[in-house]
C-alpha cells in the first residue's frame, strides 16, 4: 500500500461517510454541515489529482458560496425548527440504495474500459497546470468563446429568476419579517 493509496482511501472514506450522514441526519442543520464536509472531501480529491485550480475553486464556490446559500435556505424554512424524532431515511430506502449501487457499478465499468484510467499518479512539476492555456481556450472563437458568453447569460438568468421569485412576492404576503 503506497502512501498515495492510503491517503486516497482515507479521503474517500471521509467523503462517503459524510455523504451518507448528510442524507440520513435528523436535523437539517447537521445535514448541511455534513454536506460541507463532503464538499471539502471532494476538494481534497481534486488536490490529490493535482488539479489545484479546481480544488481551490471547489472550496471557493461550493463551500464558500453554495454551502452558505444552503444554510440560509435551511434557516428560511420553518420546518428546520422541528426535529424529526425518527430517522429520516424514508420507507423505500432499500430501493434507493440499490439504485445508487447500480449507478456506481455502471460508472466503474465505464471508467475501467477507458484506457487512460491505467495511468499511475506521478508528481507533476509546478508549471504542469497551465491556467494560461485554459484562458486562451476560453477566449478563442474556435474554442469555447460562445459557451463562455452563454454562461454569462445563464448566470444573469439565474439572477433574474431568483430575484423575481424572492422579491416580487413580498408585498403579497404582507411583509414577512
Amino acid at each position: 500500500m503506497t502512501p498515495m493509496q492510503i491517503t486516497f482511501i482515507l479521503i474517500a472514506a471521509v467523503t462517503l461517510v459524510s455523504a451518507v450522514m448528510a442524507v440520513t441526519a435528523r436535523r437539517m442543520m447537521h445535514a448541511a454541515l455534513w454536506l460541507i464536509a463532503t464538499l471539502m472531501g471532494v476538494a481534497m480529491l481534486f488536490a490529490t489529482l493535482q488539479a489545484s485550480f479546481f480544488a481551490v475553486v471547489q472550496v471557493m464556490v461550493y463551500v464558500g458560496a453554495i454551502a452558505i446559500l444552503i444554510l440560509f435556505a435551511i434557516m428560511l424554512t420553518r420546518r428546520s425548527t422541528l426535529e424529526s424524532d425518527q430517522a429520516s431515511l424514508g420507507s423505500g430506502w432499500i430501493i434507493n440504495a440499490l439504485a445508487a449501487v447500480g449507478v456506481f457499478a455502471a460508472l466503474v465499468t465505464a471508467v475501467w474500459a477507458w484506457p487512460a484510467a491505467e495511468t499511475v499518479l506521478t508528481e507533476l512539476p509546478k508549471d504542469a497546470e497551465q491556467l494560461g492555456l485554459l484562458g486562451q481556450i476560453i477566449a478563442d472563437p474556435n474554442g469555447f468563446a460562445v459557451p463562455f458568453e452563454v454562461s454569462s447569460v445563464l448566470l444573469v438568468a439565474v439572477l433574474v429568476g431568483a430575484i423575481y421569485l424572492a422579491v416580487e412576492r413580498k408585498p403579497q404576503r404582507g411583509g414577512r419579517q
Binding site: T48, A55, A65, F72, L131, L133, Q136, A139, L159, K170
Partner: protein, 118 residues
C-alpha cells in the same frame, strides 16, 4: 505539486490542532461549576421568551445568491486574466461583453430593489 498539497494538508491539520489543544488545556485548567442560572441562554438579562430559532428575512438569501453569481463570474474570469498578456484585443472584448452582461444583471437587481436591506 503533490508535495505542496502535502504541506498544505499538514499545515491545515496543525493549525486545527493548535487552537484545539489550547482550548483543551484551558478547559482542564479552568473551574467547572455549572448552575442553571449560568447556563441559561443570554437575552439581555431577562428570561427567554419564545422559540429559539427565529424566522429571518428573505433578503439574506438574495444577497447570498447575488454573491454566488458574481463568484462564479469571477471564477470564469480568472483563467482569462492569467492568459491576459497573450490574448489579442478581441479576446479582451469578449471578456468585456461577459462583464457587461453581468453588470446588466446587477442593474436589474438594483431596479427591482433586491439590493435594499429591508
Amino acid at each position: 505539486m503533490l508535495r505542496d498539497w502535502l504541506y498544505i494538508g499538514i499545515f491545515l491539520l496543525i493549525s486545527l490542532f493548535l487552537p484545539a489543544a489550547a482550548i483543551i488545556m484551558a478547559a482542564l485548567l479552568s473551574p467547572r461549576k455549572p448552575n442553571p442560572q449560568k447556563n441559561d441562554t443570554y437575552e439581555c438579562g431577562v428570561e427567554t421568551v419564545g422559540e429559539s430559532r427565529v424566522q429571518f428575512k428573505v433578503q439574506y438569501y438574495v444577497y447570498g445568491l447575488i454573491f454566488l453569481v458574481f463568484d462564479v463570474e469571477a471564477v470564469f474570469l480568472y483563467p482569462w486574466a492569467v492568459a491576459y498578456n497573450q490574448l489579442a484585443l478581441y479576446a479582451v472584448v469578449e471578456a468585456i461583453i461577459f462583464i457587461l452582461i453581468l453588470l446588466g444583471g446587477l442593474a436589474y437587481a438594483w431596479r427591482k430593489k433586491a439590493l435594499e436591506w429591508q
